[in-house]
Subunit: 285 residues, 2 copies
């Protein structure tokens, strides 16, 4: 890039991450839809989850039914497996699901549609022919199969299931708290991601039983309530915005994550893996 200064063309330094955030125009941000936002309220604070109905619409709808019938209120964080996931739901699998469905089809990927606002990453990925972002979410694609799917990055939220693929309902949910377990991609339904408060989940004491389940009921962390943000009085809603992943600001953001111009770096790297590009989230001004 060249900038004219005092009549001379000079190379300009690419902007830093902080500069990109500061310079991003209002049009490069979008409000996170309160209708697709969950507040998971724990004794230690609030975890905010953005749902993505584009990839698992039936799962997302069922989760919202469960939430609106207060299914999760009084249930528990029941599992914390180091470098893997935290999971919540009913440890005894006894609480009735109300009007929600008890099993859903395997919504693990979707047909790639023309006109999707896909922002590709240029670098190779171990698990997929192509990776990038759609509507704020990290995704992977297989052009030969014509499929796109959400990826298991840190903070991704998914739906626990038993061995048959149609046994997930949304009554058991998990969030990734370790190195991206990308081998789960296309094997289970992802429904969203934590956009605030993941650090409340990632510090949960690890469970001693198999798969990190708590071996004593007293170790479980109670869930005060889960709400759809749209159902909370407007004055109590968090007004969160996410950088549009089809914006020029996000393109610059990817650039800053790929090429480190900070003098601390002796190797600029020049590459980035999809799970190492967090999508910026801020409180609306």
């Amino acid at each position: 890039m060249l900038a004219s200064v005092d009549g001379h063309a000079q190379p300009t330094k690419p902007p830093t991450s902080a500069e990109i955030l500061a310079a991003a125009p209002a049009a490069d941000w979008r409000v996170i839809d309160p209708e697709n936002t969950l507040y998971l309220d724990l004794p230690t604070g609030r975890v905010v989850i953005e749902l993505d109905p584009a990839f698992a619409p039936q799962h997302v709808a069922n989760i919202k039914t469960l939430v609106r019938e207060h299914y999760f209120d009084g249930l528990f964080i029941e599992r914390a497996q180091d470098n893997y996931v935290v999971q919540w739901g009913d440890p005894d699998a006894r609480k009735p699901l109300g009007s929600a469905k008890t099993g859903l089809p395997a919504e693990y990927s979707r047909k790639t549609a023309p006109g999707e606002a896909f922002t590709a990453l240029p670098d190779p990925d171990t698990y997929a022919p192509q990776t990038g972002f759609e509507d704020g979410f990290a995704v992977a694609r297989d052009p030969l199969r014509g499929e796109t799917w959400l990826t298991h990055c840190y903070g991704a939220v998914g739906v626990g299931r038993d061995v048959p693929p149609d046994t997930g309902s949304g009554a058991e949910l998990y969030a990734v708290i370790g190195n991206a377990p990308r081998g789960l991609d296309r094997n289970i339904a992802l429904v969203g991601k934590v956009v605030q408060g993941i650090e409340l989940l990632s510090v949960m004491p690890r469970g001693a039983a198999a798969m990190g389940f708590y071996d004593k009921p007293g170790q479980r962390i109670p869930i005060r309530q889960v709400r759809v943000a749209a159902d909370v009085p407007a004055a109590d809603q968090l007004r969160l915005e996410e950088m549009r992943t089809d914006s020029q600001s996000f393109a610059a953001w990817i650039g800053a994550k790929r090429n480190h111009t900070d003098p601390w770096f002796v190797e600029p790297v020049g590459r980035v893996e999809v799970c190492n590009v967090p999508v910026p989230v801020r409180t609306a001004k």
Copy 2:
């Protein structure tokens, strides 16, 4: 693979991870050298770190000098940044380093030597032309540059430094507790990895100050002591063994991590990223 059963050739199912561990002969395990093992003792328990002098010999030697002069005893876990690192050392950077050096050369990679016991992974990697394992450690390689380096996988332990590359001493150490920040590879000296007790570090409350430092001294977690395992009475040493990464058992282990034959998986995946292959560690029988 074909096995003859009742006179007929039949396909055999590849072994599961549990079967590989159970079947691995004694020769496929090596004792983790007590001379290259650190015990980091915290109020909540012991973190065991295996040092790798092959990649950063001067850093490892300096750390052992610091440990043997009891530098870390009474210092603190001072930083916990979510999805990144936990760091320990002297928050005030005042404690004298004794006979240890105050700055070391940038040992961030090494020349690839013929005859290294390198076990390659077959799958593409975002950050390096080649990845695999050497002597129990996850590594990456660039054949064109003829260099090999340790990778920033979950649990990797490295040496904090200031902006000039020769300012690391080992007095400030960090462990990775999030998605592998592989962009740090070749930018800072890695010296080893946590082989037991990483879950004591990963649950540390996240710090509220910039970069996850604790903003109040009272939040810091005191270090009881750090010892080289070889300096501890034999009866008090943990006898840990690690699967040899140049063994047939480890080749099978990689196979099990790449191809999921568990009926839960609807996609066998067929690929694995280097940081998603933990090297098995066990207590010696």
